[in-house]
C-alpha cells in the first residue's frame, strides 16, 4: 500500500472546459486502488464546486484542493467504492 496522502494518479485537465474534468475523474476512478488518491488539475472555474459535488453524488471522498507543481488548481479525491 502507498502512503495514505500520496496521489497515485494525477489527471491533466488544465486546458479542458467544464464538464471535462469531472468526466475524466469518472473515467479514471477505476485506475486507482480502493483507498488511493486520484487528483485532477483543472483551471475550469466550475471544478472547485463540481469535483466535491461529484464526490457526494458518487459516494467518493473529497480530500482537498491544493495546487499542482506549476501552481494550477488541483482537486484530490479518495476512491472509496
Amino acid at each position: 500500500m502507498s502512503a495514505p496522502d500520496r496521489v497515485a494518479l494525477e489527471l491533466d485537465c488544465r486546458d479542458v472546459p467544464c464538464p471535462m474534468p469531472v468526466i475524466e475523474l469518472a473515467r479514471h476512478l477505476g485506475d486507482v486502488e480502493l483507498g488511493e488518491l486520484l487528483a485532477v488539475v483543472a483551471r475550469d472555474p466550475a471544478a472547485v464546486v463540481d469535483v466535491p459535488a461529484w464526490c457526494r453524488m458518487k459516494g467518493q471522498e473529497y480530500v482537498r484542493a491544493d495546487t499542482a507543481d506549476d501552481g494550477a488548481p488541483r482537486y484530490v479525491v479518495r476512491r472509496v467504492t
Partner: protein, 375 residues
C-alpha cells in the same frame, strides 16, 4: 397579427413571460390615451396623469402597500439599485450591506458599486443561515441587510420577516422572482419587483419604499410626479403592468396550486428517470412554478441546445451558458453540481401534458449527450 410565439415548450417564465391577456388589452388602449407628459396641466397631460395614478393605486392595492410607497422604474434591476443603495445612503450606521450569497446579480452589482459587501452563506437548499445574517447585521458599520424573497434560480423561499433586526437596520428585499405570485413578506423597508416576470411588459420595474424608511436618492434626482423616479414615465406600459399584476394576484391561488403540483411531478420524474441527476432547492417551501436540476457529465450548453431543438426553452446556470463564463453564484454557494444545469419555470398555461412531454424527452437527450463522451 400572428399568434403568440411562445408554444407549450417555453419553460422559462422566470426569464420572461408573455404578456398576460389582460395586460395586452390595457396596453393597446393606453398607447393612445397615455402618451402625454403626466406633469402637464392640459387635457392630454391630465389623461396621462390619471392613468399613472390609476396604475400606482392598482399596484399598491395588489401588493398591500400605500400608493405613495410605489415608484415605477425602467427595470427591476434599476428598482433593486435604487431601493438598496437608497437605504445605504440613508443609513446613519455605515455602508456595510449584509446579504446572502445567493442574491441576484443586480444586488451584487449594486453592492459592489456603492457599498461594502458582507456575504452570508446558505444551506444546501439555498436558504440563508439567518442566525449568521442577524449576527453580521449587529456588527458596527452595517447599514442595510439585503435578502431576496425567493431565489430566482432554485426557487427556495427565504425567511424574510421571520428574523429580528434592530430598528435602525433596514431590510431590503429583492422580490423580483416572486412579486405577484406570492404575497410580500413583512419586515422590509424597501423592495423591488419586475413586471415582465409576472406577465406585464418589459421595461417596468416597481420600487417600494416604506413611508417611514430612511431612504435617500443615491442617483441624480429629477422633477417628476414621483420624487424617487427619474425620466419620462412609460405610462402605457406601467398601466399594463399594473393590470397584469391585479390579474395575476386574483388568479394566483388556482395557478399556484396547479403549478406547485406540476413542479412536484417534474421533481419526481426527473429524479426517477434520469440517472446521476441532482434536483436542487427546497422541495416544498419554494416558488410554485420553478425547479432546477443538474445532470452529471453533461455540458449545459449542449443540453439547452438539444432541448431547444426538441421544442423546449429552458435556462441554465452552467458556466458555459453564462456571459461571464463562470458558474452560477447560486449553485456555487449551495455546493451543488454546476454543470449540466437546467432551470425550468412554468408559464401560466403550461399543462400536465407539456410537463410530461418534457419528462419523456429528457432522459434520451441526457443519454445522447453523455454518449458523446463515452459515458
Amino acid at each position: 397579427m400572428t399568434a403568440a410565439p411562445t408554444g407549450p415548450g417555453d419553460l422559462d417564465a422566470a426569464s420572461s413571460t408573455p404578456l398576460h391577456p389582460t395586460a395586452r388589452d390595457v396596453l393597446l388602449a393606453a398607447l393612445d390615451r397615455g402618451y402625454a407628459d403626466p406633469r402637464r396641466l392640459h387635457r392630454a397631460g391630465r389623461e396621462a396623469r390619471l392613468l399613472l395614478d390609476n396604475a400606482r393605486e392598482a399596484t399598491a392595492d395588489a401588493l398591500g402597500v400605500r400608493p405613495d410607497e410605489v415608484t415605477f422604474t425602467p427595470t427591476g434591476t434599476h428598482a433593486v439599485h435604487l431601493g438598496l443603495l437608497g437605504l445605504v445612503r440613508g443609513s446613519r450606521r455605515g455602508d456595510g450591506v449584509v446579504h446572502s450569497a445567493v442574491e441576484h446579480s443586480a444586488v451584487r452589482h449594486a453592492v459592489a458599486w456603492g457599498a461594502r459587501s458582507v456575504e452570508v452563506g446558505v444551506m444546501g437548499d439555498g436558504r440563508v443561515h439567518d442566525g449568521d445574517l442577524v449576527e453580521n447585521a449587529l456588527t458596527p458599520g452595517t447599514g442595510v441587510v439585503a435578502l431576496q424573497t425567493a431565489n430566482h434560480e432554485v426557487g427556495t423561499l427565504q425567511d424574510v420577516g421571520d428574523f429580528e433586526l434592530p430598528d435602525e437596520i433596514p431590510l431590503f428585499t429583492d422580490a423580483c422572482a416572486s412579486m405577484g405570485r406570492l404575497p410580500l413578506p413583512p419586515g422590509w423597508a424597501a423592495a423591488a419587483g419586475s413586471a415582465h416576470k409576472w406577465g406585464g411588459p418589459a421595461g417596468v420595474g416597481v420600487l417600494l419604499v416604506r413611508k417611514r424608511a430612511r431612504w435617500r436618492n443615491p442617483f441624480p434626482g429629477d422633477d417628476r410626479v414621483d420624487e424617487r423616479s427619474t425620466g419620462f414615465e412609460n405610462v402605457p406600459a406601467v398601466l399594463a403592468a399594473a393590470a397584469s399584476l391585479q390579474a395575476v394576484v386574483a388568479e394566483r391561488e388556482e395557478v399556484n396550486a396547479r403549478q406547485h403540483e406540476l413542479v412536484d411531478v417534474l421533481r419526481h420524474r426527473v429524479a426517477a428517470e434520469v440517472p446521476d441527476v441532482e434536483v436542487v432547492g427546497d422541495p416544498d417551501r419554494r416558488l410554485p412554478h420553478l425547479v432546477t436540476f443538474s445532470c452529471l457529465y453533461v455540458d449545459g450548453e449542449a443540453l439547452v441546445t438539444e432541448l431547444d431543438r426538441r421544442g423546449f426553452g429552458v435556462a441554465s446556470g452552467s458556466a458555459c451558458t453564462a456571459s461571464t463564463l463562470t458558474p452560477s453564484n447560486v449553485l456555487e454557494a449551495m455546493g451543488v453540481l454546476t454543470h449540466g444545469n437546467v432551470r425550468l419555470s412554468l408559464q401560466r398555461d403550461t399543462s400536465r401534458a407539456d410537463v410530461d412531454a418534457f419528462c419523456d424527452v429528457l432522459p434520451g437527450v441526457v443519454a445522447e449527450i453523455r454518449s458523446r463522451v463515452g459515458l
